[in-house]
């Protein structure tokens, strides 16, 4: 039997590094030395070392977030996850937060005894190497995170960042695949998995930028629902450990350690680290798991993701205060001749791990059989704090869980980069209408309909506000689903992401506010947030400095905007021969709307209704779509005014509840000019006329007024009979009536009396939709 003892005791530093490299452990020298010390009396087996490597990987343990950060001025911050993100949640102390940062997904209260679970993951490395399989298993994995808290998956989200599709082949270093290849594969992979599972993909975003050529970014999210009382986590001594779902194979070995490796030419060889998707297996698994939930048969559950069986078994035992014995001979395999360590750490997909009280075992196996899911008792929870693994009757791994889950802390240095001020030198264009059309057809702004329609967003019959709105296929700010038959309450799903703002603090602040703004625009409130960081190597002090600034903003704005974080994830070490990934933070917002019949949509409703802009426009164009279009970098990044933002959001919710607001769109990428045009896209036969001089603004250059990306702003159509009440609500807040809904014109913009531009609807639609 192929189990090897690894001699650490006599290894010098070079040998230690060589062992780590050779075995693909990706463990640092410091930690190898620590292991050498720990195993001074006996050599560890390969199974043990592999388990340690998985458990201590950045992916599984979040070493950087949980470690120490030392700043240039000597501040030491311990555990930035706790210090910033979790602290905001703790201080906000919402009674509707049921489980946060603990389990596989965050859980918040919903209606009629039900709770909503939410989780967002990244799957960047696998998608770079094997786009279809990488993205598909990203979806599969996050669905299992929801099943792993007993949730029924009801909606999916995906946010994708690619290199430019027209990149020259000559510009690609070896090992980096063409963005078009990656794009096609990733989109197909996401669609395929969600469609096959019958879970609607309702929300997302797509970006294209050079900063993603070497490092594609793939975020996959899942929302689920569960009866509160069925959220069971009560694993006891003597419970059986049941492994169910797909068989274990050689795919996805070293996925988590690979997740922190730079993507170079050799990464090609790493296709084997990417799991192979099979959604049909997960579909059956879902059915079985939900039946087991409803019959209350299991005492605990977790998914198999990073680190495979080794992490699932270890974590479940550890968090239950128990130990576990696992017999690898009981694991159903799909590939021949697997060695014990391969079985133990394989990340083959579509597997779940359950703890089952003896008296329910028979019934559970019966359900698995009825649903055609393979399941096997692979072990038992025991009163010890060790994980013991058997193969062919021999102990091949015997580790103390306390040791395993308390790796030596990592310390990172942070250098906060100064953003140098750059003066913008840009002539004012003559034809602003032209600029609006150009922006509308810009790849990051224009419609993603051709992708969205390849995702089923209607399956389950619960999608109220779809990702593309109405027959005109206009943009939606957020998607709304109605999960319960007997409740009108809806879940509102939105996202915020601003990777182009070069200041990490304000980038994060804007992303948080945008997620909330998008949610509010359709009528969402009581918003919970998820943070997902995609960053370059944190051992680089500037990368770490940027990360620190971003998490600081997370605390500040979560707190100020009264929206707690409930879950998240970080993916660091996104490096390629083209350098680090563009630092990217995705904020997902999960809100509720008490009655889905009250949703507000972006399409214009009635001629002559007044159009208002809420919020203050400043000269904040750095990183804006407009300046990027012009190839200019400079000026100020948008800053979020906490107090103003909070007031505006609260008032807008009030105005929506009083039914004053007939249509609404948040102002973000491309500024007010693009937002107004997008409302026209969503509408048949009506358009907008407005006066730039009426926009509350700190700049008077018309192109800046139209294209600045200042935060906290909305465009709103108000019921003509209720405008007095509306104005009353917003008194004290910068806002103004800037125009009205008109017939037969797309967009007419004037400056006091003189006309600036006039665009007809079909040109606007053609620019944004491509037809």
């Amino acid at each position: 039997m192929e189990v090897y003892a690894i001699d650490l005791a006599s290894a010098d530093d070079n040998d230690l590094l060589e062992i780590s490299r050779e075995m693909g452990l990706n463990i640092s020298l410091d930690r190898m030395k620590y292991l050498k010390q720990y195993f001074k009396n006996r050599p560890p087996t390969d199974v043990e070392l592999e388990m340690i490597a998985q458990t201590w990987s950045e992916h599984c343990f979040h070493n950087v977030f949980k470690g120490d950060v030392v700043t240039e001025d000597g501040r030491i911050i311990t555990n930035i996850l706790k210090t910033y993100i979790m602290r905001a949640t703790r201080e906000l102390n919402k009674e509707w937060c049921i489980s946060v940062f603990e389990d596989n997904a965050g859980i918040i209260d919903f209606d009629k005894g039900y709770a909503i679970a939410a989780k967002v993951e990244t799957h960047n490395h696998p998608s770079a190497v094997e786009p279809f399989g990488g993205a598909a298993t990203g979806v599969g994995g996050v669905i299992r995170d929801i099943l792993g808290v007993w949730g029924e998956p009801i909606a999916l989200t995906d946010v994708l960042c690619f290199g430019l599709l027209d990149t020259n082949y000559e510009d690609l270093p070896p090992g980096v695949k063409h963005p078009r290849y990656i794009y096609r594969g990733v989109v197909a992979g996401i669609g395929s998995y969600g469609n096959n599972m019958g879970i609607p993909t309702v929300s997302g975003a797509i970006f294209f930028d050079r900063g993603y050529t070497g490092n594609v970014v793939v975020y996959c999210g899942c929302i689920g629902i569960l009866p509160r009382e069925l959220y069971v986590r009560n694993t006891r001594e003597g419970d059986f450990a049941v492994l169910a779902g797909g068989r274990t194979g050689r795919d996805g070995i070293h996925g988590v350690t690979f997740a922190s490796v730079e993507l170079t030419e050799e990464a090609e060889e790493l296709r084997s680290a990417v799991q192979i998707p099979n959604p049909i297996v997960e579909e059956r698994l879902r059915r079985a798991i939900l039946r087991i939930r409803d019959e209350k048969l299991a005492s605990g559950i977790t998914d198999l993701g990073g680190g495979g069986l080794s992490c699932a078994a270890g974590e479940m035992a550890y968090r239950s205060g128990l130990g576990i014995d696992v017999d690898l001979d009981k694991v159903p395999l799909k590939a021949p001749y697997m060695t014990p360590w391969e079985i133990w750490v394989s990340e083959s997909q579509e597997r779940m791990f359950l703890s089952v009280p003896e008296k329910n075992l028979e019934r559970i196996m019966e359900i698995f059989q009825e649903e055609e899911v393979e399941a096997s008792v692979v072990g038992r929870f025991v009163r010890s704090n060790r994980v013991r693994v058997f193969s062919k009757g021999r102990v091949v791994c015997d580790l103390d869980l306390e040791f395993l889950f308390n790796p030596p802390k990592v310390t990172r240095r942070a250098k906060i980069p100064e953003l140098t001020h750059i003066e913008v030198n840009l002539g004012e264009p003559r034809d602003l209408g032209e600029e609006i059309l150009k922006l509308l057809s810009e790849p990051n702004i224009r419609s993603k309909e051709d992708v969205i329609r390849t995702y089923d967003h209607e399956v389950r019959g619960c999608t109220v506000v779809k990702p593309i709105y109405g027959d005109e296929a206009g943009p939606s700010d957020a998607s709304v689903i109605k999960p319960l038959k007997d409740s009108w309450m809806g879940v509102v799903i939105s996202c915020g992401i601003n990777p182009f703002y070069p200041d990490p603090y304000w980038m994060a602040a804007n992303s948080i506010e945008e997620a909330i703004r998008n949610n509010t625009a359709v009528g969402g409130r009581r918003i919970a947030l998820l943070d997902n960081f995609v960053w370059g190597n944190p051992e680089n002090e500037e990368n770490m400095g940027k990360l620190l600034r971003a998490v600081e903003a997370c605390y500040d704005f979560s707190k100020a905007l009264d929206a707690p974080f409930i879950s998240g994830k970080d993916s660091l070490y996104n490096e390629s021969p083209l350098g680090p990934v563009r630092p990217t933070l995705l904020i997902t917002g999960v809100g509720i709307i008490p009655d889905i019949r009250m949703v507000v949509t972006p399409n214009l409703k009635k001629e002559d209704n007044p159009i208002y802009v809420i919020g203050l426009t400043r000269e904040e164009l750095r990183g804006s779509a407009y300046l990027r279009l012009k190839g200019v970098d400079g000026g100020e990044v948008p800053r979020v005014d906490k107090n103003l933002s909070k007031k505006i959001i609260d008032m807008l919710v009030k105005a929506i509840d009083e039914q004053l607001v007939l249509s609404c769109h948040d102002i973000s990428e491309g500024g007010l000019g693009v937002a107004a045009a997008e409302m026209v896209v969503a509408t048949r036969g009506l358009g907008i006329e407005f006066d730039v001089s009426k926009i509350p603004s700190e700049t008077r250059r018309n192109d800046y007024v139209l294209f600045s990306e200042s935060a906290s702003r909305f465009l709103v159509e108000v019921d003509g009979n209720k405008s007095r009440r509306f104005e009353e609500l917003f008194s004290g807040i910068p806002f103004n009536r800037i125009g009205k809904v008109v017939r037969d014109i797309g967009l007419r913009i004037v400056d006091s009396k003189s006309k600036i531009c006039e665009l007809n609807s079909s040109d606007i639609k053609k620019a944004w939709r491509g037809y």
């Binding site: 082949y169 695949k177 063409h178 290849y181 096609r184 594969g185």
Partner: protein, 80 residues
């Protein structure tokens, strides 16, 4: 008897899977103009007569492996 059945779209039917594969190969830099995709089934059939086996395979194609409206198929005996 071991048999091999190949099922492919009839000529003239477009083959989206083939098209997507061709595009992906081109994106990877391969000089590929078209790709057609089909399925191969390697079947262990429990009869010893070659003729009977061929007939059976033919029948399997008609009843399950191919849809005559859109698919062509070919059958081959691999080994007795």
């Amino acid at each position: 008897m071991r048999m091999k059945v190949e099922v492919r779209l009839k000529p003239g039917h477009f083959d989206p899977e083939g098209d997507v594969t061709a595009k992906s190969l081109r994106d990877l830099g391969f000089p590929v103009s078209t790709v057609k995709v089909g399925k191969v089934y390697i079947l262990e059939v429990e009869v010893s007569d070659r003729k009977e086996a061929l007939k059976l395979a033919e029948d399997m194609c008609k009843k399950l492996l191919a849809n005559p409206v859109k698919d062509d198929y070919s059958i081959e005996v691999l080994s007795p």
